[in-house]
Amino acid sequence: MTTPGRLVTALAVLLVAALSVPPIVVLVVQAYLGREAQTVTPARLVELLGNTLLLALLVVVASSVIGTATALLTQRTTLPGRRVWAVVVAVPLVLPAYVFAVALSGMIGGGGVVTSWLAPFGIDRLPPATGLWAATACLTIVSVPIVHTLVATALARLDPALDESARLLGDRPARVIRRVVLPQLRGTLALAACVVSLYVISDFGAVSMLRYDTFTRAIYAQFRGRVDLAPAFALCAVLVLVAAALIVGQVVLRGRELAVAARARPPRPVPLGPAGRLAGTVFLGLVVLGSTVLPVATLATWTARGLASGAQPGPVIAEAVNALLFALLAALVTTAIAIPIALAARRRGALARAIEGVPWVTHSLPHLAIGLAILVLSIAGPAFFYQSVTTLTLAYAVVFVPLAVGAILVALRQIDPRLLEVSRSLGHSSASTAVRVVAPLTRRAVLAGAVLVFFAAVHELPVTLLLRPTGSETLAIRVWGAVVEGQYTTASIAALLLVALSVPLLALHERASLRAAVAA
């Protein structure tokens, strides 16, 4: 390894050790200290665990079925407008689950937007959006694009030779998909199940708003209702154990998935007859209607209704500005931290894998738990760290750095090593090679990573709730506070503003990742 290489590795180790490790240590220590704390009754613990796992199971099943179908339809058929559908289906990816929770609450139940549409047809009541089914619906909406994206990527990588042979042997397309394509997706679907389960058990805002009791809701209840942190940390320990099992599964599956070689040849799409086209379009239409059109229309209706009746939306513009500033800072700092980590993680070996893996662990743990750990750290640290923009920014970096590292790593790994050799043989130093060869080739990926972090930070709820500077509320905090107080108008206005902010970001991200792909 060259000297600059060693320096970068040392810097990466230092960054990971300083950022990602402390919250994990605090969680372990606090869980140990809180082991005697009286939390909830054993029966209740079992109930919460059961509730959480049941929800995860339902969301995994629903989103896997829907997400695989949307991926197959948009990647492997001749469905008209499939490129547009592929983008539209992925839209909910840019919105946090709690925004859909607000929309779902405002959509049905008494006074809901959909309820009022159905009134002329003699239906004057719909059940309120609460409990298991509402939480399942809400989290499925957010999880479908995750499954869709993972499966679509895997489909692009599958060797088309296999299904072409099956077709040559006379199998009908449906049978080819069932017998040839789906079995090859098993690993990807298992990975998707892990990712979605982690999402579900970490979610805090949506399950709270929809009043479904899961572990994160119970942890927050302990934090908010008691004056001692020990019970909250004791419950965190249980949640972290569940998350740990899923993280292990994810790491194992992710490793296997990367082993599949990329194929250059695109597969031949399955031709759809008129009936197939209609069915496919109706299915995708229903998915988009439920996941995007109805939620946004509901938020817009509540906003319009509220403003018309003279509701004061409060300082939402200031809150939007705060959210954007914090996210911008988070994106800059996190990307700067991610670059050396990605450079070090690009190499082979156990150390490189640890450098990449440890931030993922911190990222995958429930943010409420990480937020509580950082809260404890920042109180113990020097006073100027407490409730400061610095701490909030660093906390975002702690949870989101793998997003940026991941984006940059993909680009780095795709650089042909011969290019670097040529540069060096031309007499350029490592530093000069880095600036003149590596930097231009990874610029797009760096930008894509930064945009991802920006997104994530704008929408983040639990960490922001616990660590924000006093006097600087954000949109996420506003949505949360308004829903807890039952102020749907205010919540809708803030949520709609979040949607409005996210749309241009989505476009930017699409372009950035597209260019990253092209550049690589």
Binding site: Q38, A218, Y386, A439, P469, S472
Partner: protein, 348 residues
């Protein structure tokens, strides 16, 4: 061609580096505005009350005094936990709570400073801390919210203890993590003792209650026909009526003296670690001015605690004997007991 491109890359690298550096290096400046010792901020208030009720007053105070106030809005319980974790280094100067029990939890470890007599004397006797280290600002009463169209008033209980009856199975809403519920349980412990309170909580938990995070959500659920009755504070109805005069939910009072019929003052206390004592006391006086008290009466529907400002429309006037019977300083000391009992009953 070569040179400009190199320059661009160098610029990008420089930007990335400064991006890296701006985080930490601008920190002291940013912190000065937010920290306790701050140059830009004259007063830091932790507000455990609905932002919409308090923000207009904070803004008016800033306008009148020219001071700059940073308010942290959140739930009372969340902020109390935060202050206890912060201890002596809390950046907060004042803690404005929704309920008495949480200010008691801050008072117990000696984190609050005594308030001058001119402030304590503004409110009726008994609505302040044992050490005069907190004072009531407004008051709310615990009530049972219901919709007369679906749940006739005649069938409503006179005592909160009747709600454990199987007749109420699945029909009662409550927000067990909300500070107003916790304080209400703390009051019940003061009136009936721990054993009876735990028995009641277990009875409620076994009666298939509907669990909410907040109070207003319950009123909306009642209006929508999804819930029959909810244990809430009286003023939520006033707020929703102001929004929609046709809002169908009404308040039912438990019998006077019943542990269900308790007075819940909102309270404020000054942290002993404050570095803005003068501004903090001015803000407390401002909250107890006729003008601010009228704001809480007119805009929120709460009972002003300063004499002669008025009574919320349709609510029975405050009974001085009932206030002294509440023994609020004891209630304020019961938080740990109340949260433990609620946790033991399985409600959270």
């Amino acid at each position: 061609m070569r040179l400009p491109r190199l320059a661009v890359v160098a610029l990008a690298a420089a930007l990335a580096l400064t991006g890296c550096a701006t985080g930490p290096s601008t920190t002291p400046k940013a912190d000065a505005g937010e920290g306790a010792s701050g140059g830009g901020t004259d007063l830091v208030i932790y507000v455990g009350r609905n932002e919409d009720h308090v923000r207009p007053l904070v803004e008016r105070f800033e306008e009148e005094t020219g001071l700059s106030v940073d308010a942290r809005y959140g739930s009372t319980g969340e902020l109390a936990t935060t202050i206890l974790q912060e201890g002596d280094s809390s950046p907060a100067d004042l803690f404005f709570t929704q309920d008495p029990a949480y200010i008691g939890a801050i008072s117990e470890p000696g984190l609050l400073a005594p308030l001058p007599a001119d402030i304590i004397d503004l409110v009726p006797e008994g609505i302040s801390g044992a050490e005069d280290d907190w004072v009531g600002v407004t008051a709310r009463r615990r009530v049972l919210a219901y919709d007369p169209a679906t749940t006739p008033e005649a069938g409503l209980p006179g005592s909160v203890f009747e709600l454990t009856d199987p007749a109420w199975s699945g029909r009662v809403g409550l927000a067990p993590t909300h500070s107003s519920f916790v304080s209400f349980v703390a009051a019940m412990v003061a009136i009936r003792g721990e054993d009876e309170t735990l028995a009641w909580l277990e009875g409620i938990a076994a009666n298939d209650p509907q669990i909410f995070d907040g109070n207003e959500e319950q009123l909306r659920a009642i209006a929508a026909g999804d819930l029959d009755v909810g244990l809430v504070n009286h003023y939520y109805v006033h707020r929703l009526l102001a929004e929609d005069p046709a809002f169908p939910v009404k308040n039912h009072s438990f019998d006077a003296g019943d542990p269900g019929d308790v007075l819940m003052p909102t309270t404020i206390g000054m942290l002993a670690s404050t570095v803005h004592e003068e501004a903090a006391l001015d803000f407390v006086r401002f909250l107890l001015s006729d003008e601010s008290q009228r704001h809480f009466l007119d805009e929120v529907g709460e009972y002003p605690l300063v004499n002669g400002v008025g009574t919320p429309e349709g609510e029975r006037p405050l009974d001085p004997s009932l206030i002294s019977g509440m023994n609020l300083p004891v209630v304020a000391g019961n938080l740990d007991i109340a949260t433990d009992l609620i946790a033991r009953s399985g409600l959270i």
